[in-house]
């Protein structure tokens, strides 16, 4: 149990401040804190707890409960310590007869309108109201009802005569994860402030005044579920009583221990406390010292962990001769020897390079490292790839070419220092919600926002934020738009010449400047092509270039195009042009999709490079691994995922070990993926569930969840965070153990006993990880690579004194139209994305109550296009491309432009990827998910393909248990 950490979660009352030191005396102790700090926080720093109810250190002070009153020498009255800033020489007394009396009076008032059912209350043992009643010594409530009247209150359902109490409001349990019980509310405002300040959704408010004040979600007839609430959990965390309470706590009771770990959903990589009763998970609470999330969470990480104990989880290994057969449950030994024999047999018949692996961007670094090691050291080839192929591989190539490393340049804290934010091809409020909350906080503080996206995403306009510019470009024209922005900056002389001269190759800049200044790159010349009004584009360019610290955040709307890599280079050019590299508040920030997609790339999952992004052609790198692993490393690049499938159809690639990915659902052109999988003789799926890919598998190895193993994830800011085992693997083995068993069944002699040993091997072979070990992670909590002798504490900001490659390199970015074009048969452009409540292929989130927010994929279509086709909101429509067709229901909305339709890919019965094509990025083969020419027509049922698919899937999932 040595990995268990007891977090120090003392609430300091008000947020930390930065400023010149101020010294004061509190209860006789000398305290020095930064200017602007509250007296309450200063006291907490000295270990003195001032009673409080409405204050919390993640919210600005509010000063409403009056419980934190203190005496300050030379000041009149009893100021609230939360709203009073420290001053030099101040002398504070937190305890005196006077304040004690006041506090007791305050508590007496609170308790006079609060039920005294503490023993059976769900917050028993975790209630600040209870704590404070104890802290102030409240022993009696003296308020009595006037004669012949009841004492007005909010908690009794009926009065003593049996009449309904008009002040009582029933519990709202519409949200699947938490309840709102108004009878327990003390109207401290913490939930409302958390919704505003922390989450930035503004779904909660206080309705009424005085005694009638109530917390209210949305409008008068809304419930929590129907309101704008995004179920991030910030209000529940803020609530000092049982008013807002997790249903799991109501059901199970309070946890008895807590372990810090890392969320296994998106690339933000939030730190959480897994709160446990024995080996039962009671709740996940965001960890306030987590450097990626700073105590915040979203509905997925906070609540959607139920998949870990879902009945669909497969816990026993299974095999079958042919995919037409039902599955047969077998022992681990039998499954592993079956798999090993088949894989080795394939190599004997079809050659060493006829098998390969797909590493998981959801598993840990240590697990990924072992999977690529399996192919390189045991299979003897470089046939390894990962889901980053289909998301951020262009980032690796594009940033590598311009800056010399694929690394995103900043940490998430950097957003607090930015003045102008460009969000391009990303929808953070859905895809990276906790980062979005941090971004929105900065926007509310005055930073400007430029959104470049075909859709009017929520960031364009929502509560208290509005983009200064939204450039709704036509899908596929990113390069033209970003190059036009550069055109404006260069031709209007807005570039940072000093930065360019000092930090970049000046000759290359000259060539680039000449290229970009050509009138054919002007916004006016491109308006017809991109659909972006030239004046808007010019205004956006000026805002970015002249607005102070400029930061660019981008997602898969940039990379998943035939010119994905070129757009990444164009973005890097833009950052260099404006001098926005190498300090806080600026930079090029790829928002990575999955929890460990950064780590899976770092760990050598790509077929052309060994861990640490070093090409397999380099003999000195191969020698290093030969030394470590005792085998020769193949000097030729291996097959990428699309190439594996092509080779499979061609008959030269026959066996695949696929860990924690569902390529049949997530990869483009489903029919081609299915054909590739069907052509293989040994597909080993290692996963939690019988996913879609498993329909074509011969071996199923059950996987473990992030709660069941030790390891590390690396998030989008290169932060290496610990994942900690809080329960035993339900399937018997952690995933790294399963890979080791398979390797050993194939003749390897691996003897790892803990992931820490794998990390030692990673550090020994990978320069950017050289300084990383579990002891360091225990000590620091997390660290951002590069972490080595030169950067012992890690590297929050890249390229501070110079680019990794030396001089930054400007690259000419000519727009090349994709071959995927609209025409009479397919006149609309389909683009795809994510929704907040669901994650990727939905294998996890579909198996949680998150389905109440999104139970099916919907097609967004502009009213104009809908009307032309006679479609109404909610109609079933057939969506067809040259690749395939499916049906789903339509949502008519002007969030999309005319000519553009949009859907998500979370549900296999819709299977949006049967529509997408095999076109891909020129440099990396990253599929062009974001542009598919389609036609839409009314429909009254599933397509033939959907019916065939469903029939095949149901047949492929039959299981004969071992006993039969």
């Amino acid at each position: 149990m040595k990995d268990f950490i007891i977090p120090d979660d003392t609430d300091m009352g008000t947020p930390a401040k930065e400023g010149a030191p101020v010294s004061l005396i509190i209860d006789g102790f000398d305290v020095t804190v930064p200017e602007g700090t509250s007296v309450m926080r200063a006291a907490a720093e000295a270990g003195i707890k001032v009673p409080k109810l409405c204050a919390s250190d993640n919210l600005e002070a509010f000063g409403s409960c009056r419980l934190c009153a203190v005496e300050i020498e030379g000041r009149r009255g009893v100021p609230a310590s939360c709203t009073t800033p420290v001053a030099e020489g101040m002398v504070v007394r937190t305890q005196s007869e006077k304040v004690r009396k006041i506090r007791k009076g305050v508590m007496e008032l609170y308790i006079s309108d609060h039920p005294l059912d503490c023993l059976t209350c769900s917050a028993n043992g975790d209630c600040e109201l209870q704590d404070m009643a104890g802290a102030v010594g409240l022993r009696d409530v003296r308020y009595k009802a006037p004669e012949n009247k009841e004492l007005a209150n909010h908690f009794a359902t009926r009065n003593t005569s049996g009449e309904a109490n008009p002040e009582w409001i029933a519990k709202d349990d519409s949200n699947p994860y938490f309840t709102y019980d108004p009878s327990k509310c003390i109207v401290c405002n913490r939930c409302v402030r958390a919704c505003e300040e922390v989450q930035g959704t503004f779904a909660l408010t206080i309705s009424g005044r005085g005694f009638d004040s109530r917390v209210s979600a949305g409008a008068a007839d809304d419930s929590f579920l129907t309101s704008d609430c995004v179920s991030c959990g910030a209000c529940v965390q803020a609530c000092p009583t049982a008013t807002l309470q997790e249903k799991s706590i109501i059901e199970m009771g309070t946890p008895d221990k807590s372990v810090v770990t890392t969320c296994a959903y998106c690339g933000v990589g939030c730190s959480f406390k897994a709160e446990m009763q024995g080996d039962q998970l009671v709740r996940m609470v965001p960890y306030k010292h987590g450097k990626a999330n700073r105590g915040h969470s979203c509905v997925k990480g906070r609540f959607a962990y139920g998949y870990a104990s879902h009945k669909d989880r497969i816990l026993n290994p299974m095999i079958r001769d042919k995919i037409e057969d039902p599955w047969r449950e077998v022992s681990w030994d039998e499954a592993l020897s079956f798999a090993a024999k088949r894989m080795r047999g394939l190599q004997d018949t079809y050659g060493k390079k006829s098998i390969g692996v797909i590493t998981s961007s959801r598993c840990t670094n240590e697990e990924t490292f072992l999977v690529q090691k399996l192919t390189r050291a045991v299979f003897g080839n470089n046939n390894t790839d990962t889901c980053a192929r289909v998301c951020h591989s262009p980032t690796g190539y594009g940033l590598g070419q311009t800056f010399g490393t694929s690394a995103g340049t900043q940490d998430f804290d950097s957003v607090e220092h930015t003045d102008v934010v460009v969000v391009i091809g990303a929808n953070p409020t859905d895809g990276h919600p906790v980062f979005a909350s941090r971004l929105k906080k900065r926007l509310r503080a005055g930073a400007k926002l430029i959104v470049i996206d075909p859709r009017r995403i929520d960031l364009v306009k929502s509560a208290h934020i509005e983009a200064a510019h939204h450039l709704p470009l036509r899908p596929g024209t990113n390069v033209a738009v970003v190059t036009a922005l550069a055109h404006v900056i260069v031709t209007e002389g807005l570039m940072d010449e000093a930065f360019i001269r000092e930090r970049c190759d000046w000759d290359e800049f000259q060539t680039y400047a000449e290229f970009v200044s050509d009138p054919r790159h002007s916004p006016e010349a491109n308006e017809m092509l991109t659909g972006v009004p030239a004046s808007d584009l010019r205004a956006a360019a000026r805002t970015f270039a002249a607005g102070g610290n400029g930061a660019i955040y981008y997602g898969l709307g940039v990379t998943e195009h035939s010119q994905g890599s070129t757009t990444v280079m164009a973005i890097a050019n833009l950052a260099m042009l404006t001098g926005n590299i190498g300090r806080k508040g600026v930079g090029v920030n790829p928002l990575r999709g999955q929890n460990n997609v950064q780590g899976s790339c770092d760990m050598g999952s790509f077929p052309h490079e060994l861990p640490g992004y070093r090409h397999v052609k380099n003999p000195e790198v191969r020698d290093l691994f030969k030394e470590a692993w005792g085998v020769d490393i193949d000097p030729e690049p291996g097959l990428r995922i699309p190439n594996m499938l092509d080779a499979a159809v061609h008959g030269t690639f026959k066996g695949l070990y696929c860990q924690g990915e569902d390529i049949l659902q997530s990869d483009p052109d489903t029919k081609h993926v299915a054909a590739g999988l069907a052509a293989m003789d040994c597909v080993i799926v290692h996963d939690l569930f019988l996913n879609e890919t498993a329909n074509y598998a011969h071996v199923f190895l059950p996987g473990s969840t992030f709660l069941e193993k030790d390891g590390t994830f690396t998030n989008a800011e290169r932060r290496i965070n610990r994942v900690r085992k809080v329960m035993a693997p339900r399937n018997g083995y952690a995933d790294w153990e399963v890979t080791q068993l398979l390797a050993n069944a194939m003749g390897a002699d691996w003897t790892y006993t803990h992931p820490a040993e794998i990390m030692e091997e990673i550090a020994a072979t990978t320069p950017s990880f050289a300084g990383v070990d579990y002891a360091l992670l225990e000590e620091k909590g997390s660290v951002q690579w590069p972490c080595n002798e030169d950067h012992p504490d890690g590297t929050p900001l890249m390229h501070v004194d110079g680019f990794v490659r030396g001089k930054g390199r400007f690259i000419v970015t000519e727009y090349v139209a994709t071959d995927e074009k609209t025409g009479p048969r397919f006149p609309l452009l389909l683009t795809t994305g994510r929704i907040l409540s669901q994650y990727n292929v939905g294998a996890q989130t579909r198996r949680t109550d998150n389905v109440v927010w999104h139970e099916e994929d919907l097609l967004e279509i502009h009213p104009h296009d809908a009307e032309n086709r006679g479609l109404k909101d909610g109609d079933w429509v057939k969506l067809a491309s040259r690749s395939g067709e499916t049906t789903l229901r339509a949502t008519v909305t002007d969030r999309v432009s005319p000519g553009v339709v949009y859907t998500t890919f979370h549900h296999p019965d819709t299977q949006a990827n049967v529509i997408t094509t095999d076109y891909s990025d020129w440099a990396t083969n990253c599929p062009e998910y974001k542009v598919t020419a389609v036609q839409i027509s009314p429909s009254n049922g599933p397509t033939d393909w959907q019916e065939d698919y469903a029939a095949q899937a149901s047949k492929a999932r039959r299981i004969v248990s071992a006993a039969e």
Binding site: H608, K617, P637, L639, V812, V816, D819, D918, W922, A923
Partner: protein, 68 residues
């Protein structure tokens, strides 16, 4: 891999390097293909060029002919 896919992928690479100043696009295309295409894919390309290379851009054909 289907020939039309190989042709498109090859031509896409050449299309990028054609736009780059001061380099030989065929040489850069060759380097890119050598770095990222698995030997089976390169062999398929070689075979296709040996058969005439219909549909391939000149830079791709030149690159393929330079392959060791």
């Amino acid at each position: 891999m289907a020939p039309d896919k190989m042709i498109r992928m090859g031509n896409q690479i050449a299309a990028f390097f054609r736009t780059q100043p001061g380099i030989d696009p065929a040489v850069k295309t060759l380097e890119h293909i050598t770095d990222f295409w698995e030997p089976r894919m390169r062999q398929q390309l070689r075979d296709y060029v040996a058969d005439g290379g219909a549909g391939l851009d000149p830079e791709v054909i030149a690159a393929t002919k330079m392959m060791a």
